[in-house]
Symmetry: C2
Subunit: 182 residues, 2 copies
């Protein structure tokens, strides 16, 4: 899986918010090529892969140097949140197992259309959050989901990721990350 070109390309493309056709247009190849590469149904030439990556843009060295973390459970349904605490104060905890997790909790607010940008965020640590209001589009590696109130995410920050508010009402997220950003 370390040299799984298809998965790598799909992951990179998704994080940059490009469709197969859009990337193909920028790269000067056809969408079928992108599709076949991503599904590992063909073995692209170095030149073709370079052209594709130029459409990102990304260098070959960077592409092959990408670490591909093992996919982990990244999304939780609203009713999958573990209920912690009780009485007048109630916590709903994302991810049942907190062993080897150290988090700093935060509250984030995304204006309509707000976006962390096409550049892929990657840093050490882990992060997670719960959407409390509005909708949030979360991209993690090759997975992309639009989350609504009560839904949550949790992932290893070394995976390339991106956040965007696709709706036209503000979005509020209770999020957390480790180690403290900045």
């Amino acid at each position: 899986m370390a040299t799984d070109i298809g998965t790598r390309l799909r992951s990179v493309r998704m994080v940059h918010n490009l469709s197969q056709r859009e990337l193909a247009r920028r790269a000067g190849v056809t969408n079928a090529t992108i599709s076949l590469i991503e599904s590992n149904k063909m073995n692209p030439s170095v030149g073709a892969l370079k052209r594709v990556l130029d459409g990102i843009p990304m260098a070959l060295a960077e592409f092959f140097a990408l670490e591909m973390p093992t996919r982990q459970k990244a999304f939780y349904a609203a009713d999958e949140l573990t209920e912690v605490g009780k009485g007048s104060i109630s916590f709903r905890q994302v991810g049942g197992d907190l062993s080897d997790r150290r988090l700093q909790i935060m509250v984030e607010r995304y204006a309509p259309g707000a976006d962390t940008g096409r550049i892929l965020l990657r840093h050490d640590g882990e992060e997670g959050g719960i959407v409390t209001r509005g909708r949030l589009e979360v991209t993690i590696g090759d997975q992309k989901r639009i989350l609504g109130p009560g839904e949550a995410y949790y992932f290893d920050s070394r995976q390339p990721h991106r956040f965007r508010n696709p709706g036209n009402e503000p979005c509020e997220v209770v999020s957390a990350c480790t180690p403290p950003t900045f």
Copy 2:
């Protein structure tokens, strides 16, 4: 030239002291493939290139991350050495222009068959030397030469390089490098 696969491959192969056929055998491809790739007469598939590099062995990421310094004058004939000093003490200086060159002079002695090994040496700085006795095979990037007494070399140490005594008599070299090794 930054993505000149042929030159990169040839350079790597030479430094590892492999013939096209020997590398082809290890990689499970034909020597024609190696030849065509190195002369940039074809655009290899990623899979094929990976197989070839496995025969080195070298990872794709490392291969594409290799910096390709601009080729510089690397070899000097015996009579190209600049005569410095005079009288009872005489220096023969490699490379006429010493501006932005800082060197530490050393004397090296290679027993018959001695070899710095197949691993590619690369480090910051520059190095040069003069063969005073015997013969020395010097590989610098994609250039390989066997030097005899009076002949010399000088190059940027970031280029992959290797030294070997191919003869059966001892070889003595007056060499120099910067910054001091160790």
